[in-house]
Symmetry: C2
Subunit: 491 residues, 2 copies
């Protein structure tokens, strides 16, 4: 029986105890990237959020099937309007490339940057373009059940009928009448019976490159359909958790919920989870606002808004400092502070092997560990967990400074606790950018140099020994004299 | 006008001058992995072969669209018989996993090991399972043209009719009558009009997990169809180059050729290229022979047949030592020799920045470079090219030893030549396993230590200076005294 876990469910607006449908199996579906542009900060937050959930569920003993889709068909720019140019296709035409070549390029880029951020690969990463038949099957069912209609080769979901029978808007808390009052009349709306109806299938006009044959027309599926289809195919008609950014609640998840409910007669998802958004210096990130930061720019520092490069682990750490349901604002100062925090945590962990056990403990590792579990089980409260880990760092430093003592058993427990929660659950790993002394050969060569310094001291050539220390410091290598001899670490 | 390139065409059994259909564009299709097992040595050879082709075509100025598919639908174990269990599905049932979860796992593994081998990502990596509609469209055309027939929900290609009209067997040089005489009667053959007919669509029985609806039955496409379909979709009805291992010539490529020819009325591919196979200690690699080596085993040394681990670049170098149309035999001795060869080449390259130009040259870099191009343009003759590169290494060493001189212009040309052909075209890169001194920080620390050694010498403490040299040597760091001071390199 795994430890209790509570998750905030967007649908019920409460924190609920997590109880999977088929324990020990857990089905987790998260909306992945639309692959028509380079991965940016907005991609990183859901990836990190649900990566921690995936890691924690597995740690608790669940067998998790994690599905994260690739939206490669392109979706309409304005789904409510049901019109707008297919985004992927637009990009392809500009670059004179086959759309799938654009898609492949950005999938590769996405994978590359997710790897850098320490995001585990999902169990299945299905492509929307690879599930056209499955989407068509759902459309057929929805038409047969009377909740969709065909006009000029396009198929629309009958939202009014759905609302009357099942009620629409539960996830977003929107009221269909209010939405209607706020809807402008847009081009192409004339095909719809009701302005809020959305497309399940769109007939392709002659300029569309990505299209497939169907019972209704040569065309392409509406955006919302792919998640209903792939969620159902790989996780079953009803599954445990559906995640994504909160910008997807409406209309994407609301429409997905409606489609799936019509098909199976019941709600498809038990727990809907949504991460909050990011801002840049207090503003929404948008290309039009010139405050758009890609992950490559972030990791290289090549963006006018950035004072320097920030490492993938710094970004990950910074995101984890906020609860996933809160917004996160990116600024140079905040990131520099996160970098320091991460270094302090990693330094603490690197000191663990140097701790010497005493006969008794003055520290309480059991409670610390229990609090860490409580934090993660409380709707993935990573900021509180980071507080627990820094309490661990405080203990480590206090034992080194001999202000506290720790016995053998507690030391083993502290080591296991710190490593499990930092590395395995939060996914924070030492970085190989010279900030860690992982490199074995480097360590050995530095030790030879420290030996030279020792010999200089022995022959009382303090100028020489000091010179070596200073030279190393200029390379970012800090030498510390301990009673067991000199040790070193990166600044 | 790019430099001339000659390629051996399996179809014509001659080396032909390469002339693309739509210069500067080149369409290249290579059969990718069937993702039901861990990547092994057999995956590495076509990947390396066509990676070099891809790199060289781009270097020559062509705009290459390189399509390498993922076979994830599973194909029949015995295609000639048309029966046998779907391989992917079998594995999935054993592991109690969703087939697409197995697929995803092995796709990820494949990508990981291809990255290690320095294989560039193809332009498009389409999945067979993502192109069921496109495959069904081809089946419809083939039926409409009268070259396929439906029996009990399965669709078979009418090979006799095709042979009569177009002639079957040109690629493999097989004669349909001979094949017929060698065909045993196998189960399931009764659906076929003719024993050599092959399945375009198979009706799924109740135990099949992977299946899709179609006009003929709930079922799945025959294996050969995916390449006809995806080649056509992404490269056009006729494209330049189709590659793969020579084990795919028959029946896979022969059947693909037949299908596509029926659909479009003309041969789909201009140049068919096939890499030869690998053997292990003189024997065909097969799980049943207990001589099966995965790439992970090779890179970690964890296989009873291996005396030690061999690095990805060693494997790549070893494969390039043979022409791709020749077999390659793997043995510990051969790999150890390749490791030494690779190190010698990399060491040569690392010495380039240390070369001092003279007023005149005693070496002929122009001819060397021209010969290297000739080698690659002669059907990718990598063994000859490696010979040219080792001639480059000889020149580098001779200049260092002052047996030869090189002027500034030639030195620039040699540097550019060595780097372009080694890194960019053969894809051989220094490895970060401590065998290179790329690590900047390490270099700086070693230099501090060499400074200490210099100071020990200055105070005539030769025991100390010698001790430093020996300590570094024990770490594999070789110190050489030159007139410009001490330099170091990894052994």
């Amino acid at each position: 029986m795994p430890r209790e876990l509570f998750l905030y469910n967007t649908l019920t607006r409460t924190k609920e105890k997590f109880e999977p449908l088929n324990p020990p199996h857990v089905g987790l579906y998260v909306c992945g990237p639309t692959v028509y542009s380079d991965p940016h900060l907005g991609h990183a937050r859901p990836a990190v959020t649900f990566d921690v959930l995936f890691r924690y569920l597995k740690h608790l003993g669940y067998k998790v099937r994690y599905v994260r889709n690739i939206t490669d068909v392109g979706h309409l720019e304005d789904e409510v309007a049901g019109e707008g140019e297919d985004r992927i296709q637009k990009k392809a035409r500009l670059e004179q490339l086959e759309p799938m070549e654009v898609v492949q390029h950005y999938i590769n880029r996405y994978h590359h940057f997710m790897d850098m951020l320490g995001i585990l690969q999902p169990s299945i990463e299905p492509h929307a373009s690879g599930h056209i038949i499955e989407q068509q099957q759902l459309i057929k069912i929805i038409i047969d059940k009377g909740f969709a209609y065909v006009v000029n080769g396009s198929v629309y979901f009958d939202l009014k009928k759905y609302n009357d029978q099942f009620g629409y808007g539960a996830l977003s808390g929107r009221n269909i009448e209010d939405m209607l009052n706020n809807t402008r009349e847009l081009e192409g709306q004339d095909e719809k019976r009701y302005p809020l109806d959305f497309a399940l299938w769109k007939k392709a006009d002659s300029t569309h490159i990505m299209h497939w044959p169907s019972l209704w027309s040569e065309g392409f599926p509406g955006w919302h359909l792919e998640c209903s289809s792939m969620g159902m195919k790989y996780l079953g008609e009803q599954f445990d958790i559906h995640g994504g950014g909160m910008d997807l609640i409406f209309p994407h998840h609301e429409c997905e919920l409606a489609q799936s409910t019509v098909v199976t007669g019941r709600p498809p998802v038990r727990y809907w989870m949504h991460n909050n958004m990011i801002t840049i210096n207090g503003q929404k990130m948008a290309r039009s606002k010139n405050n758009f930061i890609t992950l490559e720019e972030l990791f290289t520092g090549k963006n006018a808004l950035l004072e320097k490069a920030f490492s993938p682990m710094t970004i990950r750490f910074y995101m984890l400092q906020a609860h996933y349901t809160s917004p996160v604002d990116f600024s140079n100062d905040a990131l520099k502070a996160a970098e320091q925090g991460l270094n302090r945590l990693m330094k603490g962990l690197s000191l663990l092997p140097k701790l010497k056990p005493s006969a008794s403990s003055t520290v309480d590792v059991i409670t610390l560990r229990e609090n860490a579990y409580k934090a993660l089980s409380d709707d993935l409260n990573c900021p509180v967990l980071l507080g627990n880990l820094f309490e661990g760092v405080r203990i480590i430093n206090s034992v080194i400074d001999r202000k506290e003592t720790i016995n053998k058993e507690d030391l083993e427990s502290l080591t296991e606790f710190m490593r499990t929660f930092t590395h395995d659950l939060l996914g924070l790993a030492p970085e190989e950018n010279g900030r860690s002394n992982d490199n074995e050969l480097l360590d050995k060569v530095v030790k030879l140099l420290l030996q030279q310094r020792q010999e200089a001291k022995a022959r009382k050539d303090y100028a020489a020994s000091d010179h070596i220390r200073k030279q190393l410091a200029s390379l970012g290598i800090q030498v510390m004299d301990t009673k067991d001899g000199a040790v070193w670490e990166m600044e």
